[in-house]
Amino acid sequence: MGTELGKYKLCVSARSTDKDILKKAQDGGIVTQLFKFALEEGIIDGAIVAGQGDEPWRPRPFIATTVEELMTTPGTRYNISPQVSWIKEATRSYGLDKVGIVGTPCQMQAVRKGQLYPVGLRDVDDKIALAIGIFCMENFPYQSIKQLVEDHAGMKLESVKKMDIGKGKFWVYGARGQVVQLPLKVTHKYEQPGCHVCLDYVSNLADVSTGSVGSPDGWSTVFVRTRKGDDIWSKAIGAGCFETKPIEQVKPGLEMVSKLANEKITKNQKTVEERAKFGVNKALRNPYIKP
């Protein structure tokens, strides 16, 4: 295994011990459970999560400062929620000193860049108390999700209960029990273009990162990466927040995570290279080289 999984101190398969969270969560309820614990313990005084936006399945960044507010937000919305846009306001009119934030790998990159190069993020760098990253193969514009659900899956967005990407398929679960699966080759054209140069699958820069891949249904794979993450994770374990299994003992296990991570990175690395000769002696910009 190479660098595709980033640095981590610990990797386990886990799920929340809270039935209510498990019922609402996308996978093992890691994100919601960990934020809940951190809120209750005063480790964070608010978390930037993806709340319900103006249209069905459209997320918007939302600052939860109570467990009650937090409990309205579990579950994955497969379209863009500009999580980082609230990172400064959270420390201003919300008065937070210890901010939690959940986001995709690229959003974790944005957070860390913002801490090291705070161009317009005054007094934010030392207030990021818990950054939870989720795994991410790609994201979608809202219109893409609408078309995938309404055209391809033949369901109204309003009547969808859950969406999921797993086992090579895009799954749409209806409120009345219908299940539609779409092959991923259908979804590719709908992806957010910026994702095609993304070189991180498992939120390498988060304090704790998590996703479903690698673990059985209803469980999540968890990487504990930083000192902060380690500290909070071990406290949460101590408090009985999670049931865990060694990652080596679950199927399909870490190998699957590595495989997908490598696939994503290899594919997108190729895109980055192709961009260098996209036009006729004209390159598209490469953010990894210079601004």
Partner: protein
Amino acid sequence: MAEKITVGHVHMSGCTGCLVSLADNAEGLLTILDKYADLVYGLTLADVRHIPKMDVALVEGSVCIQDKISVQEIKETREKAAVVVAVGGCACYGNITRFGRGGQPNQPQHESYLPVGDLIKVDVYIPGCAPCPQLIRNVCVMAYLLLKGTKDQQELAKKYLAPLMQLAERGTEACGCDLMYDVVNQGLCIGCGSCAAACPVRAITHEYGKPNVNREMCIKCGACYAQCPRSFFNFDVVTEFEAISDLIAGALK
């Protein structure tokens, strides 16, 4: 402890907000002055009237080319300073002085304001209006390591400063439109929201995940683009965020 570096603050046509921002490092500023840098020039803070030789010049404000003293001082700054840092939107990109068009008493001829980089070579950019105290601090610490640190520290400082040097090479124009030109139009935007968070005049909203810039609010400070993870993202540095944050925090102890 190695000897200190010498730093000066050169005030061109700026509002002193950049300097206030430096001062807003609070006790961190005292530590910097105790351990790493001697402030050898800065009309607001020190009594020195004429620009001396120095290691690092922090230049605030743009240059009024109809004002002889300003033009002379910026050239002198280049001659006297080993490293010139443009601090803040005005020095980097012109910021609000880009809107200046003269005609105001008592000097109606003061019409043209240029970012520092249009008159001299600038080494490092710190965009933003006001620029963040923490970024100014980080650059000061890295400049110290670059000039006085061990080999490893010099390497790190070089890597850290590289994108800020590349921003200086990139040019002297900035505006919210850069998010469109150089991110969205380039197929790079990921809808993270950093640009909106960075904007000091709340000119940016996200519409279905992508930035919309209210161009009649934008003041051309350049913060949004520089903050965007898709303007620059240097893996070798940002991946080490924990160690580098520790290093900087340790330096300020």
